[in-house]
Amino acid sequence: MSALLQRSPKKTEPASPKARTAKGSGRGTGRRRQENLAAYGFLAPWFLGLIVITAGPLMASLYFSFTDYNLIGDHQWVGMENYERMLSDDRLHSALRVTFVYVFVSVPLQLALALALAMVLDRGVRGLPLYRSVYYLPSLLGGSVAIAILWRQIFGAEGLVNQILAFFGVQGPGWVSHPDYALGTLIVLNVWTFGAPMVIFLAGLRQVPRMYYEAAAVDGAGPLHRFWNITVPMLTPIIFFNLVLQIINAFQTFTQAFIVSGGTGGPSDSTLFYTLYLYQRGFGSFDMGYASAMAWLLLMIIGGFTAVNFLASKYWVFYGD
């Protein structure tokens, strides 16, 4: 360590311009190599983190997905058995159903709301930075335990929502504790975190040249036409980006469902998200082999959706020429 510190002044020592520009000379490449090495040295802690904390467990889970591993004792190689068991696991199928409904309903709603709000703010509202922060806040908080607990209270049988409904003489159900509504409250929670895509949309809208709108207005295009024929095409790269990110995020939703359902995925499995079921299998049933296999299936599903998104993007995303 001390050697490293002692040498460091030398590194900043100005090299002669000749040596620096002398590309291909032995001394120049040598120096570059040293500097690269030093850079790798400094990168090492993060690189190590990637291997130890991400890549290592990733590979381990791939291996465990082919074993019967109960978390406490030894594991045995069982080949494809975990994957075969998935075919006949009714709860897995119901978890997939819940997750798909969640992704396909909440992501489009969230993006539509984000775009709509972004367009309103883009018109030059006074105090824009304030609004931007206010709307962005839920994105930061949405995945937190505190918000999930708050959600539970708001949508509880005697929560805020029902108190407001009672004011209008409507007797609301226990939203989070009824199988018909529980998933809906989680979709609303996800839609509520529209701030992050909104900020990106807002930046995108700023990039659309004003002259297009002026030219269209001169040609007599109304607001709707301008939206469909200028705003949307110009924003497609941004929409695409948001779509890919939000789909990936939505598939991995865990905290909200875990807290709102108390870890059960209930009532009657109506909020049993894929990741929640994975967690139950791994840490509740000590079925870590199966849970690992589930993780890899999820990776394949998300990978598949992302690939389809990228392939389809050729046909609708406009990058401008």
Partner: protein, 437 residues
Amino acid sequence: MNIPSGGVRTRRTAAPLALAAAFTLLASACGGGSSAEDGVVELRFSWWGADDRHSNMQQVIEIFEADNPDIQIAGDYTDWGSYWDRLATSTAADDSPDIMMQEERYLREYGDRGALADLTEFSDELDLSKIDPLIADSGDLDDQTYGVASGVNVYAILADPEAFAEAGVEMPDDTTWTWDDYVEISGQISDATDGEVVGTQSMSYNESGFQIFARQHGENLYGEDGELAFSAETLTKWFQVTQDLLEGGGQPGASQSVEIEAGGPDQSVLATNTGAMAHFWSNQLGGLTASSDRDLELLRYPGESESERTGMYFKPAMFYSVSAGTDHPEEAARFVDFMLNDNQAAELILADLGLPANIDVRAHILSSLPEADERSAIFLSDVEGDVVDGNPPPPIGAGEVVEITKRVSDELAFGNLTPEEAAEQFMTEVEAATGSQ
């Protein structure tokens, strides 16, 4: 300072050095032995519970440390729900607490897989001679003692006499009441108060109640080899009682029950003064009396005199276990001995971990028990004459049955399953979870 002039060589050493430094930092972060330099042994003790228990336990630990300056105990506590996730992960990582609280439904899971030490090996440190014979061998599996019971518990009905009075319904005679009486009384209470006070909290969310019911019918939840030991008819009858209560209004509706169950004891109908009866373990009487601010009473289960035999049973409330991987098993055993056999510890814990397993200690604290715990002690001795036998230890996977029971109860309450279908689904899922076909 002797700086080599070669430049090239020295800078080349920078990369490995940085790498080495990173490794050192990482290694020192992961390390940390369980033994301090000055000969003091550090042990970790983990338990589950609510705030009351946490502060009591800390006090107990302080007394133990004062008496045993060579041992330091670090408390590691959480609530019941996350306890098992945490224990599973730390055990898998070979970092389990040296001393841990265990439960009947999980003890086998850990014991069979070699995660728990055999406590009979530490007879010099750990005295098990004064343990109530009723539960003395409840932590034994295959001739090994994986856990020693902290106390004794009984599953019963907790009733709020004030709620009964409010509804103008008489408290039942619990030595003779039948399941029909239970449904009828519950309905009467709900009716009389227009649902302001419900008769009873749903009983289908805990399989311990069904175990009593099965025993009343000469069956049991699990047999000697961990197999299912009840018939589908009995389980259907059990779910039918809940169905009758739902239809007769004697218990809260489905959606409300989900919320009540999720809230734990503090959200139970007794704690919120919105119900007259609920099913609980006897050690919870003290806590619920406090949160409800009422003088709750323990009642025998309905149907004790109705069918073939009585069904109520004593259960070891919790177990103290020592990790098989601990570096200091003797010291850990000494701490367990203190928890079990020391009067000072019992004076603080009282009946929170069940009525103390050590008979002498139980006698010692009996006079100092708060009123509610004293009632539960009297109740236990009253019931003792009726208890026919104990239960065989539950099979591996019994911990999963907790969730299965909740899920099936939800489906039944929301009307997605009939009692027959609920019984069928419960049996299929439990068989899959416990590996008994």
